[in-house]
Symmetry: C3
Subunit: 352 residues, 3 copies
């Protein structure tokens, strides 16, 4: 406690805002909040965070940290005043955006809230300091390794609801030394209006099958690659995250690297409830045992998936191509059902 307080006092005295334990800034970078083209389907306002204004997107860039690191992130608010005014309904609410994060440590000055005055008016900037605190075996405080997210907490309202709904959110992963490293990470935000990353139906899966480019709307991997899904719940609704053919361990990292007793006890799941603000990591080996294919990835609330809350985990073969037997039915009629049947010549017998 003494150390905690001394650090806080020192931070206050210095006019800085470092959380206790953050003695060195390991990395400094900028983040830009900008307006993006309106949603092509709904015409809703779209905003994004980017490492440059030009690269802003929703979700924003994945921020990866290692326990022990401290980042200083300077947020530039380049969203037009008129846009921010359009997002709010209460004229007394200040106009601005912020950077609020989950999981890692930050002082009130980096909280990204109105009451702490830690937000950014239009045209301004502000530096937020995040500390990926490691486990403290003295106090018993756990480390911050895990799957988290960052988001606006001011745009349009005191909880940033319109800001988040417009696109101001992104993923954070804090790793511990020794954590398994993925080959690919996909951030998938399950949200309102039956959306994944604010898109639904074909907008949520824009992969060019000849030359798939991984991104927020193209989930693709080669068979055998270690793929990490960072799942975030945003908005107002409950959802369940499900992917066909793959499963993961319900642990911090989504894998088990433990004793026999842990292996015997940890649930393996392929479907998980995610509420707003929840985050978890699902680690899978693409196509492991099941092979290449167009594996559905969807909310298992039936009316959500029916209304388009569904995308595809495209697992390519090792050459980066989709194998014929795993193709879409129209394009790959191999083993297609004969008229009237769907018959399969594989031997089958009675249950006995």
């Amino acid at each position: 406690m003494a150390a905690v307080n001394a650090a806080a006092a020192a931070a206050a005295a210095a006019g800085a805002e470092r959380p206790g334990g953050c003695t060195v800034i390991d990395r400094r970078f900028n983040l830009y909040a900008v307006e993006l083209p309106k949603d092509p389907v709904t015409n809703q306002i779209r905003l994004g965070y980017g490492l440059t204004p030009e690269s802003a997107s929703y979700p924003g860039p994945l921020i990866e940290m290692i326990e022990g690191q401290c980042f200083a992130i300077t947020l530039y608010n380049q969203v037009p005043v008129a846009t921010l005014e359009a997002l709010r309904t209460d004229p007394n609410h200040p106009v601005g955006v912020s950077l609020h994060t989950h999981g890692v440590k930050y002082t009130q000055m980096s909280d990204g809230t109105v009451h702490s005055n830690s937000f950014v008016p239009p045209g301004g900037s502000r530096t937020y300091i995040w500390y990926a605190q490691p486990r403290n075996t003295t106090t018993g405080a756990q480390g911050t390794a895990g799957y988290w997210w960052y988001h606006d907490h001011v745009g349009g309202g005191p909880h940033g609801t319109p800001g988040i709904a417009s696109g101001l959110f992104g993923g954070v992963v804090v790793r511990r030394q020794g954590d398994p490293r993925p080959d690919r990470t996909y951030v998938l935000a399950f949200g309102d209006r039956q959306t994944i990353n604010l898109r639904r139906s074909s907008e949520a899966d824009t992969c060019d099958e000849q030359n798939p480019v991984p991104g927020p709307t193209c989930v693709v991997a080669k068979v055998g690659e270690k793929v990490e899904f960072l799942v975030i719940g945003i908005g107002n609704d409950m959802h369940t995250f499900h992917v066909h053919g793959h499963s993961w361990a319900d642990t911090r990292t989504g894998v088990i690297d433990g004793s026999k007793q842990l292996v015997d006890s940890v649930p393996i799941i392929d479907n998980k409830t995610v509420g707003p603000g929840d985050t978890f990591g699902a680690r899978v080996i693409a196509g492991e045992s099941v092979g290449p294919g167009h594996w559905m990835l969807h909310c298992h609330m039936q009316f959500h998936s029916d209304l388009g809350m569904s995308t595809t985990f495209h697992v390519l073969d090792q050459n980066g191509a989709m194998t014929a037997h795993a193709g879409h039915a129209p394009a790959n009629p191999v083993q297609a059902a004969p008229a009237g049947g769907g018959q399969d010549a594989t031997a089958h017998g009675n249950h006995g």
Copy 2:
């Protein structure tokens, strides 16, 4: 990865569809999708899976596997065309049903989806291959032991929503060598319209108290029996599963068989949120410490339980009878409250 791909390639070459690792088919049996009498209360269409057409039910038969086993299940679609047409709203959607499963491994040919053309038109059949993959200590892939479910993914729509809502679902348990074996397993699907296994209120508890026959609407055990509840979320709503007087460990198997540190860390629960597609196992010892009785088992969302999403876990004494002191109030007025009081002579003092 090489092994994965080689297996997939071999499967494709053979025109077969075995997932990697499935070298021998351990068991072959048939599953029939049939139409059942309409719901006696709502007049809704009811379908069921059965090991024979005559034994079809909702939920369908429990399928148990041991890690390492591979099953070949041939699904016969005996549901009338007119019924399947009535379930769909989009005339372009194909008419058929399928077998999609969770947790275990299967290739795209056993996915049970429209886009992979792995469903069964009326009058047809198709063999699905499931592999209960064991833990692979080389790749780090976890095993498939756990509580899962199977369901239609095509009937009436691309996610099988009307098929599932009509009754095409059932439980899957994959056990690992050494897992505790239950004396009884009950599959309980918490679903829409405040239903348990598609029934509510008295329809969800049809036990003959003189001669209770365990089944989808009669949850009964003798005191001391190890009872396993396989809880499934289906449909569109969130639910919470609660049973009176009993609790379980929030692990893969619902029990703890671990180190002191695991025992000290694993949550013990008697209420658990279950969203659509979620499954878990709750393992209890019937009446352990609490004795025989009519123990309520219900969704703890208050309006759900009030509207009939409640059944009873009937715990009989060791002779298979319900003890007098634990009976329903009307039938067993022992220790009933005197007029005006509910007084209990047990000594009590002040808190102090």
Copy 3:
């Protein structure tokens, strides 16, 4: 099993109702169900449990047990008949209240339900016996240590829905020898109408900032104190519990005191879905690393927080004061944004 039955038989023979294993009553005390002033905002009926009639509150008093203990709690129903009649809609439903608990062991006579006739008519009393059963290494039955709740199950309906909605609920903690002890415990029930402990907005945070008195509507601690949140879901809705700047381990106790493998595997979270009937403990060290401040504590369903389902975790400095740099913006303009900017002079560079 023999022991279970013998104990039950002995209990039945004695006219008592002790669950098996409860050989001695460790503590006896009274609990009073009384009517409280109507909700000042909504004018709804408010009831409360109290160790005395005068101290009744919602939530009711926290009941702490140690594994192995057995409590005899005598409930006096002092709620006026007219009030109980007003809560019910079915005139055939009996008038009364009860004490139903989660997690610990109790026989049907202490179930607190209508069908077991274990409730209390107006003016009456009844003794409920709870047993905090320890782990039984012979049968494999897990212990009852954990975070639980007690509530009415009869007031106004067979699931006590109106009774709970009026305030008849409270927290239960069962500890195991060696469990970490908190400095402070707060019971926070997330419920319908966007409420925390049945209040929202300013009613949920009534702290006098000069002299904060911890209680159901004032969540406060000094930096470094070990604070335990017992989170309960009540009513009909799903919620997510989130607190700014703090996180906890998703274990039984909310902390990890385990092997490296456990530490590496257990998720650390700062947001958790809680459905009706669910309970969990979140253990944090107030201000650890992040320092003092007015830390928001809210449901992360955006419309819930926007509608007032938000309170504050006030973390004071070690002298019991709120430090200037962590204050509300209006009161503490230190480091406030200059007009037009929110500029921060902290160095920042490009992401490279």
